[in-house]
Amino acid sequence: MSRRRLRGPRHGLRLARALLGSQYATMLEYRAEIALWALSGVLPLIMLAVWSQAGVTAADGLDAGQLDRYFVAAFLVRQFTVVWVTYSFEEDQLHGRLSPWLLQPLQPLWRYVAAHVAEQATRLPFVLLFVGVIALVHPAALWLPSPERLLLGVLATWLAFAVNFLLQSVITMGCFWTERASALDRLLFIPYLFLSGISAPLETFPEGVRRLALATPFPYLLHFPARVLAGESVDLLGGFGALLGWAALLLPLVLGLWRLGVRRYGAMGA
């Protein structure tokens, strides 16, 4: 720990560049996979199709244009907050790749962060392509966000990604205790699917359920950044505060579990 601190920020920067560069090269190899993966995030657009016809959202204070913008923004936010750390970590651990990384003077979780960032960079052109398709099929659904909303939206999306990453990392640490942590990850996805706002804007929820949802991190992972990006009126302070709060809560939990887990870790077959 102390040795790394002596090396200073220049070393950190070089490390980050090397990690991101190598991960980006790996991800480019899988660009066809990533294109399909981006395509598999169509859920918000399917839900937009149903909601736009349902004609019930006016009662919840959302007009057709707002609905369009919300779901397109939700689609974009989802694209850049996808987290799959549990699956790669589980595989790396089962195949014994984790062991040499533990010997290196770098917290192995950084590798996964770099992989996710590199994957998002690879995904970017495909997402732009989809936006182009939306522009052709349903141009009314697109809008030009104001510069400050764009900036805040990107920031909220990044924070949402960070919180989502930490949330999944808690589950991932289960890999040290069980061989099937990815099954638990499937369970985590279910409340995300129904409470994050990817299936329905939170405005359409009954009051009680909405309050329950807002007590979980899920709406901040999608609903909040999407509304910021869509230019809707949002409680910026509350939203960013909640994201930072969840991050502050989850980070020590992940690091603590990591420390306990590594102590238990005996490599595969040991």
């Binding site: 169509v42 859920l43 349902a54 499937r186």
Partner: protein
């Protein structure tokens, strides 16, 4: 010895060994059951949101829309039981080159690949979906005649065949692309559209979901038959779609195999 008994006997062996190896993973089983319950509860909740202020969704009342959700749940159960374990394995076989061993076996390779494994964890979901369909239909005031029940069953079987064929078509492309896990993921995510009656979609999407990807025939058509909503008789058309897709999957597999060059070549 006829054709059917032989395949039947092989099927029995496949499934008994698959069941035996699955009993090792009881933890997985309970997680899957929990996921199933959570998914149904969530879908029910989202569907109910459409009925908070209105009485109908695309001309379907609440109980009627629940029948569609039941059909979706049932078919998702079929996918969990038979499609997901088998067709995801194709990718691994192609990657490792162990598809060679399958092709050498004295049995139809598509049959082997499609039926080798079974995941019994999907069976409760099938039962739950069927139960939801019947319960919601009764609540909707439909008293299905034996004939309606029979045609619903046939339509659901046809839907399963269509679903299988679509899935196999996508999985077969792994011969070219090797890593195609995400392609089946795309299919699964588009099929989520089947949770809602087809008339709930705007007309452009509706024709896409009927003509290009026959989602309409998977869930809406069986639900219509159970509720006796169908004005025309969809049975011949649905059977035709299923037969057409199945033939396409067989032809496509034969075509794909000509491009299979094993792992090392």
């Amino acid at each position: 010895m006829g054709w059917l008994p032989r395949h039947g006997r092989v099927l029995l062996r496949f499934w008994s060994t698959a069941l035996a190896s699955q009993t090792e993973y009881l933890f997985n089983f309970s997680v899957e059951l929990l996921a199933m319950a959570g998914n149904l509860a969530g879908s029910w909740f989202v569907l109910s949101l459409f009925f908070r202020h209105g009485q109908q969704l695309g001309g379907w009342r609440w109980e009627e829309a629940l029948v569609v959700l039941g059909a979706y749940t049932l078919l998702d159960g079929v996918a969990t039981t038979l499609l997901r374990p088998n067709l995801n394995a194709i990718v691994t076989l192609v990657q490792n080159g162990s598809l060679d061993f399958v092709l050498l076996k004295p049995i139809d390779s598509q049959f082997w690949l499609s039926t080798r494994l079974i995941a019994p964890v999907g069976l409760p979901q099938i039962a739950l979906g069927a139960g939801l369909m019947l319960w919601a239909a009764a609540r909707a005031g439909a008293a299905p005649s034996p004939l309606a029940l029979a045609s619903t069953t046939v339509l659901l079987l046809a839907a399963s065949v269509s679903l299988y064929s679509l899935w196999f078509l996508v999985a077969a492309t792994s011969i070219w692309f090797t890593k195609i896990w995400n392609a089946t993921e795309v299919l699964r995510n588009v099929l989520v559209a089947g949770r809602y009656p087809i008339s709930a979609y705007p007309s452009g999407v509706r024709s896409l979901l009927t003509l290009v990807l026959p989602v309409a025939f998977l869930t809406t058509v069986p639900a219509e038959a159970l509720l006796a909503r169908a004005g025309s008789h969809p049975l011949p058309l649905a059977l035709l779609v299923a037969a057409g897709l199945f033939t396409a999957s067989r032809l496509f597999w034969r075509h794909a195999l000509r491009f299979y060059t094993s792992a090392s070549s």
